[in-house]
Subunit: 211 residues, 2 copies
DNA sequence: CCTGGAGTTGTCCTTTCGGACAATGGCGCA
DNA sequence: TGCGCCATTGTCCGAAAGGACAACTCCAGG
């Protein structure tokens, strides 16, 4: 593999100072990689991207200003050719799916070994989509479930908050029967026996986030 | 602050290669800190501790062989004077509590800046317990809730799995009434209106872990 | 134009929940 | 010895949940 010339410019986005230091340490093993900027939150990330126009961005999914995927979208909106590699701990297949749909050119786990990280960046910079087998597997499992509708996505977080069908109906402005219908559909689509299990599955799969 | 002489020997335990690299990079800023070993899982960690007898151990809570706190316990059992600093992303107050109870000499968030990390290690090595204010706050909030009984700790995961009171009773070998009583008690102690909210709270607080 | 999916609103019926209250036995601690 | 906490088992009751159906509207896609 030929080295990048000029060097591959990189933007690092992660709210963990120590992890950023680790990335820089690993990336410094390649003379043809150059970290031109780093950011610890989404707003700074978008700004830094605009300023430095890096050829590759490494982005954490979980950022303090609660986005990561939003930052990805903002960056891809500014430059649709931008290459962004998501780098995160496992967050459920929904997050992976959303990241790839938003145009990420790969999805690495933070547990990635150094060599694989370098290879993934190289592959992504050359236009390939780098997705590790374990992530791929999760995505395929996911495909067996149907997509959720917009309404279902509105109802689900309310169920997770412990609200009753009547409460949900009041908030979203329809009758209890409608709420029941949506919940019934959610149970079927996610394979849950009742709303309690629904919460566990939804959280595990990253369809909703607690806090 | 006087430098450590001989140098402070350190063991690093974290399953993320990149994060370990970051730790080493930050720690190398102190000439009197010396990383003598590192481990990516609990078993290796205990082994490395036995072999190198480091004066300080930095340990991630979440390890692939599903322990972290177990590794902490194993290490403290071998050497009750061992100093172990937990270093992790937020995992709910229950994990913090269990770690400190098991003898951790501090609990840092992975988002910790480099300087604070170095200061925390220094403080912990000198016998102080380093706990950042945000973690302290979480622990105090927690104190307002009562401790769970052993039975409640058995029942809770089953509730989270979506089982009914009757199912739970069958598994644990008592009647549905007893299951109801425990669930009622859990609802009261954790401040949940129903078992759906109970799941959300239990997961958020780290009383149960999904997967 | 017609089909299908989504969203909406219902009914009927059985099961489950959760609150209030009460009673028993055990075990530790003062 | 007695008090309190825990675990256990109940009863009664109203509210909520969830399955099985059915029907209507709207709208996009073939």
């Amino acid at each position: 593999m030929l080295p990048f010339d000029p060097p591959l410019t990189l933007l690092i986005v992660d709210d963990h100072f120590v992890f950023r230091a680790g990335l820089k340490a690993v990336l410094s093993l390649r003379r043809d990689f150059e970290v031109v900027a780093e950011a610890g939150d989404a707003a700074t990330a978008v700004e830094a991207f605009h300023k430095h126009e890096p050829r590759m961005t490494l982005m954490d999914l979980r950022l303090p200003d609660r986005s990561g995927i939003e930052a990805l979208r903002a960056i891809r909106k500014e430059n649709p050719a931008a290459r962004v590699l998501m780098l995160t701990t496992f967050d459920g297949d929904e997050d992976i799916h959303r990241a790839l749909e938003a145009g990420a050119c790969g999805y690495l786990l933070k547990s990635v070994p150094g060599q694989e990280l370098l290879r993934a960046i190289e592959a992504a910079a050359l236009g390939k989509r780098y997705i590790p087998p374990e992530v791929q597997r999760r995505l395929e499992e996911r495909a067996t479930f149907g997509e959720l509708t917009d309404r279902e996505r509105e109802v689900l977080p309310l169920v997770v908050k412990g609200l009753t069908n009547k409460d949900i109906a009041g908030i979203l402005g329809f009758t209890e029967f409608t709420a029941k219908a949506h919940v019934r559909s959610l149970l079927a689509k996610l394979g849950a026996a009742d709303r309690t299990e629904l919460v566990a599955i939804a959280v595990q799969r990253g369809l909703v986030h607690l806090e």
